[in-house]
């Protein structure tokens, strides 16, 4: 197990380096950072001097090498726009994104799995059909539109919930949390629903399909024949056997939740990493973009690793294989 984790961590370094390399090869197509860093009256000579000082005139491999060497030491450089260390900016934003993603993931699981089980068990019921129809909306509507519609309904028309931001936050060390204030909790509702909706419907449909499959298998029939109660058949036997693909997808989707929070964060002006990143794209703030992409790559590797470890616990066949 330890060697497995170690190997995965080693792989993660390679993945991050590759991501950074691809990122750096693309940055020069995004535009000129200098023009965003100076006013219109700044002279040509000063602009060139700035570009030289930032090393923007170097070939991209050298820029990448410099970034990689500094990154190994934990130094991600200084944001062109905010003139602050990137690691500090990302750390300030990390808690906002993680809280949002966490709440969304919980929502997606807590609503998605029971709905999936229900629609599989009562496949022909009216409620099931209603849920399935609604889930189509969740899959097909773009996140941006869902966000705007929710803002319009609950923020502008009903005025129940705030339309933007994170509300009041409480700082616990470097972590800021919105869980401890009323305005923080209220602010979480709309963005987390927006972000969770797609995953929720995905999980629900997946669980439903898997359940339908498993319910037809011999061992479920046998379990019923043994006279076991429905509850036990459905949840202990059937549901447990659907979980392997569900865990894979959920794990990967958790990564996507963090990565694709970008859209939700910009609709709700949620001060997370995604918003920082999208702002950095329009400002061509290369240090922020590079650090963010590498960090997201790291998250994906770690989440994949956790998913792999979970397989061992859920699926006894894997354990048997590894001891054999």
């Amino acid at each position: 197990m330890i060697s497995f984790i170690f190997k995965r961590l080693l792989q993660s370094v390679i993945v991050m380096l590759t991501v950074a390399l691809i990122a750096f090869s693309m940055f020069r197509f995004i535009g000129d950072p200098i023009n965003n860093m100076v006013g219109q009256d700044t002279s040509q000579a000063d602009r060139e001097q700035l570009a030289e000082q930032l090393g923007l005139n170097d070939p991209f491999l050298i820029q990448f090498g410099r970034f990689a060497l500094n990154a190994v030491e934990g130094n991600f450089g200084i944001s062109y726009k905010y003139r602050q260390p990137v690691s500090k900016l990302i750390l300030e934003r990390l808690s906002a994104t993680l809280e949002l993603s966490f709440v969304s993931a919980v929502l997606a699981l807590v609503i998605g799995i029971p709905c999936g089980v229900y629609t599989a068990l009562k496949a022909k019921g009216l409620i099931s059909k209603g849920i399935m129809t609604l889930s189509l909306i969740g899959v097909s509507l773009p996140t941006f539109l869902i966000g705007i519609l929710l803002i319009l309904l609950f923020g502008v028309i009903l005025r129940w919930l705030p339309t933007f931001g994170r509300g009041d936050v409480v700082a616990i060390g470097w972590w800021t949390t919105g869980f401890l204030t009323a305005s923080g909790l209220k602010s979480l509702i709309l963005p987390s629903i927006t972000l969770a909706l797609f995953q929720m419907t995905l999980i629900m449909r997946l669980v439903r399909a898997e359940m339908l499959e498993v319910l037809r298998t011999d061992f479920v029939k046998f379990a019923r024949a043994r006279g076991l109660p429905d509850r036990s058949v459905h949840f202990k036997h059937a549901l447990k056997n659907t979980l392997v693909p569900v865990i894979t997808i959920t794990g990967l989707q958790l990564g996507s939740l963090i990565a694709f929070a970008i859209i939700t964060e910009s609709v709700f002006q949620w001060p997370g990493m995604g918003l920082l990143f999208i702002q950095a794209i329009s400002d061509v703030d290369i240090p922020i973009m590079a650090a963010y992409l590498v960090l997201i790559a790291f998250f994906f590797v770690i989440i994949n690793m956790i998913v792999d470890i979970l397989y061992y616990t859920v699926d006894p066949r894997l354990r048997a294989d590894s001891t054999a």
Partner: protein, 532 residues
């Protein structure tokens, strides 16, 4: 006019309210971009300067109509053509309690000229500052400069003592090694508001400076909360839902929505920014055209054909919802040196346009690429699309290349060697004076003399260059304005540019507040009033 009466009424209301005890009044607003730094010399950009103008002050200030009024200097006079004497305001204190004196002015001017500063242009307008006593300075300019004070509102004064104590004697820069620069995250000005907290790109809170030297300023606001909101629909929703008192900019197409919503309105007015299209007249062959071996834009008749093909009123009505001001001049009415008689646009006359093209030897027209930003100016891409289709009617096939501003500016500016044949640009002169327009956009490109840097198409007329040089050192205002008018007249006859319009300012304001909309899109909290 409406605005002014509103302002006076509000001022009167405040005057009446003075007797009653002061209540906490919070003003919450959102802007599309963020305050990237608190360092007053870090970036020469209008939002940063406009916002920090509430915290820091220059020797002179803008009044609500962008006229220059005394600020930290009580008065000034010209001693000789190149020397000025400034009497500084006495008894002014910085937010940290330090006294404001001549040393602070000298220090701030020097800081603006050091490496890392983006205010070097303003620093270079002054050659030296001599301290006569604590409250009198003599300023020497490199050449006679009658409009020196026009540039002073945004040369912000910092406290020398405070800056030295915190090791921030040069400006915050992304290059170099001063990431821990104190002034990037802390502020100590003399202005009417103080920074209470600042989280980059999240939230900035300012509170009233109770000891502000101008006790008569109209505002009754005690706290200002600024949040950047990037997405326009979210910004507008936050205003309509009543969470914010003001948001800007509001997309032109949302004005109707604001008018129909309760308790909010769109506040619009002409901005001092002129939008125009330029032609590459410098190269012997255009980079992006099917005409080889010669440059059609070198022919005045071709340029004239282009400007007569554009229906500016249609652009105003269809794209700008009637709110733009079509123009024939590159300087807006708010700009010192504006010439009313030259401001009428070129007439819309497609027949004349076709005739001119035939006369110039292009009866079938030709092809050219138009470079256009798509997120920089109000409806910039739509304007370019309209221009493209209008030119098609006279036989010019325009290939439109609309890109985000970072890509666009990375292509067309000097850094990439002016890689364009035909481009759309907007300009607000930083000094609010026509000389800036002439020396940035109209004189021949001259990298050594730092002139014509934004004359991307290198329109070049030696007569205009001569006049611009003379304008730069003429101290007689009347003579100076005459020369400005003459220079603009030549440009107009040459059809050096295709002016489009002054774009509208577009703010969304709640009925709870009264604000003053300044022509440079600046929000001055001194004139914000929260209604009862």
């Amino acid at each position: 006019m409406k605005l002014r009466t509103g302002l006076f009424a509000a001022v009167a209301a405040v005057a009446l309210a003075v007797a009653s005890p002061v209540q906490a009044k919070t003003f919450k607003f959102a802007f599309q971009g963020d305050l990237s730094s608190l360092d007053p010399h870090s970036l020469n950009e209008s939002f940063l300067l406009g916002t920090l103008g509430n915290v820091y002050e220059g020797l002179a200030l803008y009044d609500p109509n962008m006229q220059i009024v005394p600020g930290l200097a009580e008065s000034w006079k010209i001693l000789t053509p190149t020397t000025w004497e400034f009497k500084l305001r006495q008894g002014v204190k910085f937010h940290g309690g330090q006294d404001f004196t001549a040393d602070d002015v000298i220090f701030s001017w020097e800081r603006a000229g050091r490496d890392g500063s983006d205010q070097k242009v303003r620093n270079s307008m002054i050659k030296s500052i001599t301290k006569v006593d604590d409250y009198t300075i003599v300023v020497e300019t490199p050449a006679p400069n009658p409009i020196l004070v026009q540039d002073l509102p945004y040369l912000f004064i910092m406290d020398k003592e405070w800056s030295e104590e915190h090791g921030t004697t040069s400006s915050t820069s992304a290059a170099g090694d001063n990431a821990g620069n104190y002034a990037n995250l802390h502020a100590n000005g003399t202005g009417p508001f103080m920074i209470k907290s600042h989280e980059a790109d999240v939230k900035t809170v300012l509170v009233r400076n109770k000891d502000y030297w101008d006790g008569d300023m109209p505002t009754n606001v005690t706290e200002v909360i600024f949040t950047p909101i990037k997405e326009a629909p979210t910004r507008v929703a936050a205003l309509i839902s009543g969470e914010l008192d003001m948001v800007y900019p509001v997309p032109v197409q949302d004005w109707e929505r604001l008018d129909n919503a309760e308790g909010v309105k769109a506040l619009t007015g002409p901005e001092a920014r002129t939008i125009f299209i330029g032609f590459d007249q410098g190269r012997d062959e255009l980079l992006y055209s099917n005409i080889k071996g010669k440059n059609p834009f070198k022919d005045q008749r071709v340029r004239a054909a282009f400007v007569h093909a554009i229906n500016l009123d249609a652009i105003k009505e269809k794209i700008m919802r009637g709110a733009a001001t079509p123009t024939g001049l590159l300087a807006a009415p708010q700009v010192n040196g504006f010439v009313e008689s030259l401001n009428s646009p070129y007439a819309y006359d497609p027949e004349k346009s076709k005739a001119l093209l035939a006369e110039a030897g292009y009866p079938e027209g030709f092809e050219v690429t138009l470079d256009c930003p798509n997120n920089r100016y109000v409806n910039d891409e739509k304007i370019c699309q309209a221009v493209t289709s209008m030119l098609a009617k006279v036989g010019i096939k325009v290939d439109l290349l609309a890109q985000p501003k970072s890509k666009y500016f990375g292509k067309v500016l000097a850094t990439s060697g002016y890689d364009t044949s035909f481009y759309l640009l907007g300009w607000t002169p930083g000094s609010m004076d026509a000389e800036n327009v002439l020396s940035s956009l109209i004189v021949c490109q001259n990298a050594d003399a730092k002139k014509g840097m934004f004359n991307l198409g290198n329109y070049c007329n030696p007569k205009v260059d001569e006049l611009t040089a003379a304008i730069g050192s003429e101290t007689d205002q009347a003579k100076r304005n005459e020369m400005i008018a003459e220079a603009f007249k030549i440009v107009k006859e040459d059809v050096g540019y295709m002016p489009i319009h002054q774009q509208p300012l577009s703010w969304g304001v709640s009925d709870r507040v009264t604000v003053n909309q300044r022509a440079d899109n600046g929000l001055d909290y001194r004139y914000v009033i929260v209604n009862e």
